[in-house]
């Protein structure tokens, strides 16, 4: 038993060694832009921009990813000594130049929830290569009345941060490549299947070489071998396609009987033909298989023959 315990321990240890690491669980931020402080005065509509230069131009990789916004704000109104709470509207995600087509809508801050409110949103974005203005624009509208002096000194003190998980950014192209490879392999498999299918249905394969193996003219019908092989020829003709109507000459008139394809090859009959083949063809093949099984069983049954096949 000790031997088995040892084997079990080695097995469990090996399992821990070979368990693949869950890479998605690790979120490494390639880009992080934190604690950008800003402030706006009351009675003002302003916007705040983040340019790519702020990211040290490291966002040069093309691809798709996500940006998470976090920002908080405090609002003061009234005089510096007499601060009054006031409503305002903040719209995040209005972009300039469509560099970051991200829109998370508007957020209203009322008197009771404005203070140190933290807003968070995850936006899908597209990253582009090359030069050009790349920026995130956030509009802030304090939405205060100019006639109310108590709101004159509204100050928005906010901070914003965003982060791009490296996993998403770095692997986006790899995911696309792997998906492209999978699609290419699927295409190859589909083509191979089509090729095999067409081969299986190909009845135009030349088998005349079988006639020429022994250099014989098999069209000699007036021989003893012709008579013996005639049933085989009949069997071979069974699967032939009816290509021309059957002609029956009666007296001086010939009657042409068209092939069954005039009915069975109509487009509105094809669905029924499939069912018909399954029912009739399947039944016939099943009966023939049962008979074949019985024939094989009888052939190997020593009681059916004077010769004991078991001795063979």
């Amino acid at each position: 038993m000790k031997k088995y315990y040892k084997f079990l321990l080695i097995f469990i240890f090996g399992l821990f060694l070979f368990i693949p690491k869950d890479t998605q669980a690790l979120t490494i931020y390639a880009e992080r832009f934190n604690d950008e402080r800003f402030s706006i005065a009351s009675n003002d509509q302003t916007y705040w921009r983040v340019f790519t230069s702020n990211f040290n131009n490291t966002w040069s990789n093309a691809g798709s990813g996500y940006i998470r916004f976090n920002f908080s704000m405090q609002k003061y109104s009234g005089s510096s000594t007499n601060q009054v709470l006031a409503p305002m509207t903040v719209t995040v995600g209005n972009t300039l130049g469509n560099d970051f087509p991200c829109d998370i809508g508007s957020t209203s801050v009322n008197n009771s929830t404005y203070n140190d409110q933290i807003y968070s949103a995850i936006c899908p974005v597209n990253f582009y290569n090359g030069s050009g203005l790349k920026q995130i624009v956030i509009n802030f509208n304090t939405n205060t009345s100019t006639n109310d002096p108590s709101y004159y000194y509204v100050v928005l003190d906010g901070r914003i941060s965003f982060e791009v998980p490296q996993f998403i950014q770095d692997n986006s192209q790899a995911i696309i490549n792997s998906q492209t490879q999978i699609l290419q392999e699927q295409q190859k498999t589909t083509e191979a299947t089509k090729d095999l299918d067409s081969t299986l249905k190909d009845d135009t394969i030349d088998t005349s070489v079988a006639n020429d193996i022994f250099g014989l003219d098999l069209d000699e019908n007036s021989t003893l071998s012709g008579v013996i092989t005639a049933p085989l020829g009949f069997l071979n003709h069974l699967s032939d396609t009816c290509s021309e109507p059957l002609t029956i000459p009666i007296f001086n008139t010939s009657f042409n009987l068209p092939c069954g394809s005039i009915f069975w090859e109509r487009n509105d009959v094809q669905a029924f033909r499939v069912i018909w083949n399954i029912l009739i063809g399947g039944s016939i093949i099943y009966m023939l298989c049962v008979k074949l099984f019985k024939v094989v069983q009888d052939s190997l049954n020593p009681n059916k023959d004077n010769f004991n096949s078991l001795e063979v």
């Binding site: 005639a230 020829g233 699967s239 093949i285 010769f307």
Partner: protein, 100 residues
């Protein structure tokens, strides 16, 4: 493919039969030409049946693949007992040869 396989096997069997019966065929053609004519009628009858069979089978609605499978099973049903019987004969013959 099934049809081509069946057709190839049948043609091979026909060729083998022709080889085995080649001397007899030559003898009949040389010595009894009228019998050859009679053989021709028999073969012609089967050929006509073959032509009619394709017309009849076209009315059954069965596809050529299904018909080919049916023909293949029929050929196997005919061939297997014959093959087993021939093997038994060979073994009996060999057994008697060994005893002798």
């Amino acid at each position: 493919m099934v049809k081509a396989l069946v057709s190839g096997i049948l043609k091979l069997v026909i060729a083998l039969i022709n080889i085995v019966l080649l001397p007899l065929n030559l003898l009949i053609q040389a010595l009894i030409p009228d019998l050859s004519t009679a053989f021709g009628y028999v073969t012609g009858f089967f050929n006509y049946l073959g032509n009619v069979s394709s017309w009849v089978m076209s009315y059954t609605g069965l596809t050529s693949e299904v018909i080919s499978i049916i023909v293949a099973i029929i050929i196997a049903t005919i061939t297997i007992p014959l093959a087993v019987h021939m093997i038994k004969l060979v073994v009996i013959w060999f057994d008697k040869l060994k005893v002798g």
